[in-house]
């Protein structure tokens, strides 16, 4: 089964702008909606927009920057998922202009939410950018799990490309035996379905969260240290793709 739920590639936006403006003056679209369901920007001087410099041959990418506010967000939202019990998603993330100093220097970069909170938790998957004590840029993948405690199972992954684009993909299965596989790779490196970077064990499963009903891409919820260290930081995103079944990979 090759069910492609939705492709919200910023490459598509780039091609639209390219067609409108001509090859010599490629122009990215002023609005991100559509193809995204909504723009979610708030908190200080936060901003999200389509800018030139897309990856892997695309014209445009998403630029996301946060204001000095703990509730800051600069995201795009996808309402396409409908309680998806199997959810694969992939995007490119470039943290070149962000600092990896300090382990509590953190901000969300991707969210996959359930239709309603279970055990007080709405997020089925939360991927955060994080610094580290050694200054290495990494992501922290949090997934809902009914473990009788925090209800969050977590794994940190160092970004293979500290100053350029990384490809991040997840494969979430929701149920009593729920699981989360993840791929975090250099954009230039091929990936395969059978060789994930790792698998996050979801103790107690994740059936109570039903399925993915909404997704956000972009920076949000900066910690105080993020706001200090990355006051001028910009995160770049591109080529978001989500599906029910088939591996997305390196195209």
């Amino acid at each position: 089964m090759n069910t492609k739920m939705k492709t919200l590639s910023l490459a598509v936006l780039g091609l639209v702008g390219f067609a409108a403006a001509g090859a010599a003056m490629a122009q990215c679209p002023a609005s991100l909606v559509p193809p995204w369901s909504a723009l979610n920007v708030g908190g200080g001087t936060s901003a999200a927009s389509s800018v030139s410099g897309g990856y892997a041959g695309t014209q445009c990418r998403l630029s996301s920057a946060l204001g000095n506010n703990g509730a800051a967000r600069a995201q795009v939202r996808d309402d396409t998922p409908a309680n998806e019990a199997r959810y694969r998603a992939q995007f490119i993330f470039d943290p070149t202009s962000m600092s990896g100093t300090n382990g509590t220097n953190q901000a969300d970069i991707f969210l996959a939410n359930a239709p309603a909170a279970f055990n007080g938790l709405l997020r089925l998957v939360q991927i955060k950018f994080s610094g580290s004590g050694a200054g290495t840029k990494r992501i922290v993948i949090n997934a809902a799990c009914n473990n009788g405690g925090t209800n969050v199972c977590s794994v940190p992954v160092d970004l293979p490309v500290q100053g350029g684009p990384n490809r991040i993909e997840i494969d979430l299965t929701v149920g009593a035996g729920g699981s989360l596989r993840y791929w975090v790779s250099n954009l230039a490196t091929s990936t395969s379905d059978g060789s994930p970077t790792g698998t996050l064990s979801l103790t107690g499963g994740n059936a109570g969260w039903v399925g993915v009903d909404q997704a956000y891409l972009g920076l949000a919820s900066p910690t105080a240290n993020y706001r200090t260290i990355n006051a001028a930081g910009v995160g770049y995103f591109d080529q978001f793709d989500s599906r029910r079944q088939t591996f997305i990979g390196s195209n």
């Binding site: 908190g43 506010n69 509730a71 909170a117 997020r123 919820s221």
Partner: protein, 164 residues
């Protein structure tokens, strides 16, 4: 003609002992229906792991107060913690819904610990019941007693009107 707008009664309601309320969505604190100042306590509930349609992470314990908004309206809410080490984040969510998936109308978390946070609600926000959520994005440490100051036009509700 006698027109009575029960502003004093409103403030008396707000100043009533909040201990009778759990300050959760299901059992919120006293309803705010007009301008005034009152003191908020705080429960140990961490009802909002996320807020603003699930897009913002809120890690602290929370306190919830309904805000009854009429029309026209033009108001702001300032919340100041009584402990200078506590870093509040405040959100107005709604209308007529108090869930992690409920949209935010306004929010603020710009000030450092111990300092007031203020939300300025867009003028003529649609009528309805909104919810002021006092939380934190900085720490899971329990929230603390706070001062809530509401200024502007919410509006004050009309309690009695008669023609003699």
């Amino acid at each position: 003609m006698k027109k009575s707008i029960a502003h004093a009664a409103l403030l008396a309601t707000l100043l009533a002992a909040p201990a009778a309320f759990a300050q959760t969505c299901a059992a919120p604190g006293p309803t705010i229906t007009g301008p005034g100042t009152f003191n908020a306590t705080c429960t140990s509930a961490d009802e909002f792991n996320s807020i603003c349609s699930g897009s913002v992470t809120a890690v602290g314990t929370s306190a919830v107060y309904p805000v009854q908004v009429g029309n026209p309206n033009n108001f702001s809410i300032t919340v100041t913690p009584s402990v200078n080490t506590y870093d509040h984040a405040i959100f107005l969510i709604g209308p007529n819904s108090c869930l992690q998936t409920t949209p935010c109308v306004a929010e603020d978390d710009a000030a450092p610990a111990g300092q007031p946070e203020t939300i300025n609600i867009p003028a003529n926000t649609p009528s309805g019941t909104y919810y002021l959520v006092i939380d934190s994005t900085a720490s899971a440490v329990g929230c603390v007693p706070s001062s809530i100051v509401v200024t502007g036009t919410v509006p004050v509700s009309l309690k009695n009107f008669s023609i003699e």
